[in-house]
């Protein structure tokens, strides 16, 4: 859409800034010029939209400005620092526990089987202990030949 040389006058006419005679001339021009008629329609739509925006009353103004100030003010970092420190501590704890578990899972050296005491309550029987070549332990009882056993 090419601009009309009357377009500035149309805006002034729309805002009520022109004298009576000039206003009548602009009004007549708008009736004949499609470009200025379209520009006028745009100005009207713009005004309708701006009317729909809520207005801030005098009573709300202080609260409105306080909200803006809070939004612009730098954030307080006290709590953020606490949680950051807690995260770091927890991560360190996980690492320490993991290291402990890995280290403690290393195979331990296991001692050989040790017989601390060995007896029998069977009359006439003896008991002996010995180790074989593999390091396994045997406890052997020698029972009497009495057939009651």
């Amino acid at each position: 859409m090419s601009a009309c040389r009357w377009s500035k006058q149309v805006e002034k006419w729309f805002d009520g800034e022109l004298g009576v005679e000039t206003a009548q001339a602009v009004s007549s021009h708008i009736d004949e010029c499609k470009t200025c008629a379209a520009a006028l329609a745009s100005l009207r739509r713009l005004r309708e939209v701006s009317w729909e925006t809520p207005e801030i009353g005098d009573g709300q103004f202080n609260a409105f400005m306080e909200g803006i100030r809070e939004g612009l003010a730098p954030r307080r970092r006290g709590r953020g620092r606490f949680w950051a420190a807690a995260s770091v501590s927890a991560a360190a704890l996980i690492a320490a526990v993991s290291a402990f578990v890995v280290i403690s899972d290393e195979p331990k050296k296991v001692g050989a089987t040790v017989v601390e005491s060995c007896t029998t309550e069977l009359e006439g029987a003896t008991v002996n202990t010995y180790k074989d070549e593999d390091g396994d332990t045997t406890i052997a009882v020698t029972m009497s030949k009495d057939d009651i056993w």
């Binding site: 949680w83 040790v114 005491s117 069977l122 045997t138 052997a140």
Partner: protein, 165 residues
């Protein structure tokens, strides 16, 4: 940030809990028990039941030619509590874990209780079980303990115990 920190703390607590041995791990002792009837039939070579294949080395030194698998069981016992395994009508194996040492060994009381045969015609005979073997020992998880010399049907009963980790 707050959610991340809480997640990390929970994860850390979980890791601590996982790293500590639970009461079951610490207190329950598991022991594999194998009961074998060893006897001789005048064979030229030693014959083992199929179930005894992995225990051949433990039985090889005995002076018998036939090895018959009687039973096997995994005994579970808490520290200070005696687990009883009735091998047959004459023999009972009783195992009581006493402590677990830092070396990996476990201290056990082990008893083999025997009930004598019926003593027919013997005046005053009481058919009371006796501890034919009574021992306290420190047993290693990777070693076998063999109890032998227990009379059974013209041969003997051999009991092999192996501590499980």
């Amino acid at each position: 940030m707050k959610l991340t920190a809480i997640s990390c703390i929970l994860a850390a607590l979980g890791a601590v809990a996982a790293g500590r041995p639970g009461p079951d791990q610490r207190e329950i002792t598991r022991i594999n028990v194998l009961a074998v009837h060893a006897f001789s039939q005048g064979r030229g070579e030693k014959v083992y039941d199929r179930e005894l294949e992995q225990y051949k080395d433990a039985l090889d030194g005995l002076d018998y030619d036939t090895y018959h698998h009687l039973s096997s069981k995994m005994l579970q016992a808490k520290m200070g509590e005696e687990a009883v395994y009735e091998i047959n009508s004459r023999y009972k194996l009783c195992v009581e874990p006493l402590s677990r040492e830092s070396s990996g060994q476990t201290r056990l009381n082990v008893r083999v209780e025997m009930t004598p045969k019926e003593a027919q015609g013997r005046a005053g005979w009481e058919r009371k079980p006796v501890n034919v073997i009574k021992t306290t020992l420190l047993i290693s998880p990777d070693k076998k303990l063999k109890l032998r010399g227990l009379k059974l049907d013209r041969g003997e009963l051999v009991v092999v115990l192996m501590l499980r980790d």
